[in-house]
Homo-oligomer: 227 residues x 2
DNA sequence: TTTACAACATGATAATTATCATAAAATATT
DNA sequence: AATATTTTATGATAATTATCATGTTGTAAA
């Protein structure tokens, strides 16, 4: 049983809190850690599901090919999020892809081993269900909320998402291209570009090279909420 | 340990297949069965989650209040479906409502008891996760697919859904009002009515009183797929 | 450095959808 | 049965969004 730092990993408090010390050590034997550069594909849609994945650091997008051949982004996962959707427990192959949108480190634990743990340790099972359940809820709520906002509201929402939830800062480098933002909030690339320009002209944001700065948080909030 | 028919219930093969005979019998003690008339509210958003619910017969809608005060329907559940979303494992209170859209029978099992079973019987846990996982996938896929169809495609889709998945028949009584269909596929009531009229004029469907009959399945399929 | 290619930008127009108005038909209420 | 209310129905118009066209800028490859 090789030594590893799983017992100390922050993620332990998220999913593995119900495991005994012995169990935690056994996780190490089935765990690998991998680094990805921005742009790297981590999982390709259609490939076999062998691992339980979670994001240690960085930022990734989960996306799938729609019938008209375009990618649509299902969600953005941040550190300590599951990178696998719950569907890893029902399917044999991934029905979505995962790519790094920032340099990322992904931990993967053999899925068979996780399933064994689940069947042996009921509290662990409940815990996983709870976490995945919350993940599901967030995706559903987000999708439904976005769906009925106008384009400006959606763009405001996504800017606030990056500022508040991801970077905790009003100045950040957008990790997604305009095209990707369009895929995430279901609109055309042209309109993403256009509305960001409008926001800049209206002095809600500033764009300096790759950096985006939110300069009128209140107005942006109100656009995200009401229009 | 009172006798009940859980061991014979069709639902056993769906979720409870991994339970021992003893466990199945113990389910009986924590189970109640309730009948609802079309229109009855089964669960009201915000109320406490105490039970694990599944639909024995009938048809129900899961819906929630959106910020603008309108209901939006998340999904339609048919017999043997979970009526609870996965969120029952992460939340204390329901963040959605459930109503019968046809006369229905709902079985409810004490959630604490289910959680105990999960923690004692790992295979049961895995099985539940698998089922919920599939449920999640269906909702997500459906939502994303509908989202990028035009109004006519969405109406065609919903007609085919009732014909193929629910009633297994090209003639059926629509269980939802035009207004509810609008809430399910995110459009205005007027447009639902308008497009159903168009479909009737184009001889794709017939509407006789409460009954809807699909008379051009191929065309409807093609509209659902491509436009 | 030149060349290619993708990302960003903006205007004009067409397509799609929502809103508003008005009314008939069906259903529920008194 | 008479009255009110909801559901279905349809047209006209306004608002929203996509598409197409055309350029510029930035970035990667030869």
């Amino acid at each position: 049983m090789n030594k590893c730092d799983c017992a100390l990993c922050e993620f332990r408090t998220i999913v593995f809190e119900d495991l005994s010390s012995n169990e935690i050590y056994s996780v190490c034997g089935y765990k690998t850690e991998k680094n990805y550069k921005k742009g790297d594909v981590i999982i390709r849609e259609g490939s076999q599901i062998n691992d339980f994945l979670y994001l240690k650091s960085g930022l990734v997008k989960l996306y799938k090919l729609s019938k008209d051949g375009k990618d649509q982004i299902i969600s953005i996962a941040k550190p300590l999020d599951f990178v696998s959707l719950v569907s890893i427990f029902s399917d044999k192959t991934y029905n979505f892809s995962i790519s790094a949108i920032e340099d990322s480190t992904v931990c993967s634990v053999d899925l068979k081993f996780i399933k064994e743990l689940i069947s042996k340790n009921g509290n662990f099972a409940l815990n996983i269900m709870q976490k995945m359940s919350r993940n599901f809820d967030n995706i559903i709520n987000n999708t439904f909320n976005l769906q009925k906002k106008h384009l400006r509201g959606r763009i405001a929402h996504i800017l606030l998402f990056f500022a508040n939830e991801i970077y905790k800062n009003n100045e950040f480098e957008l990790p997604l291209s305009r095209k990707e933002i369009a895929q995430l909030i279901d609109m055309t690339t042209e309109n993403v570009i256009r509305i960001l320009s409008e926001f800049r002209q209206d002095k809600l944001i500033e764009i300096h090279g790759k950096n985006t700065i939110i300069i009128n948080l209140n107005k942006l909030n109100s656009i995200a909420e009401h229009g």
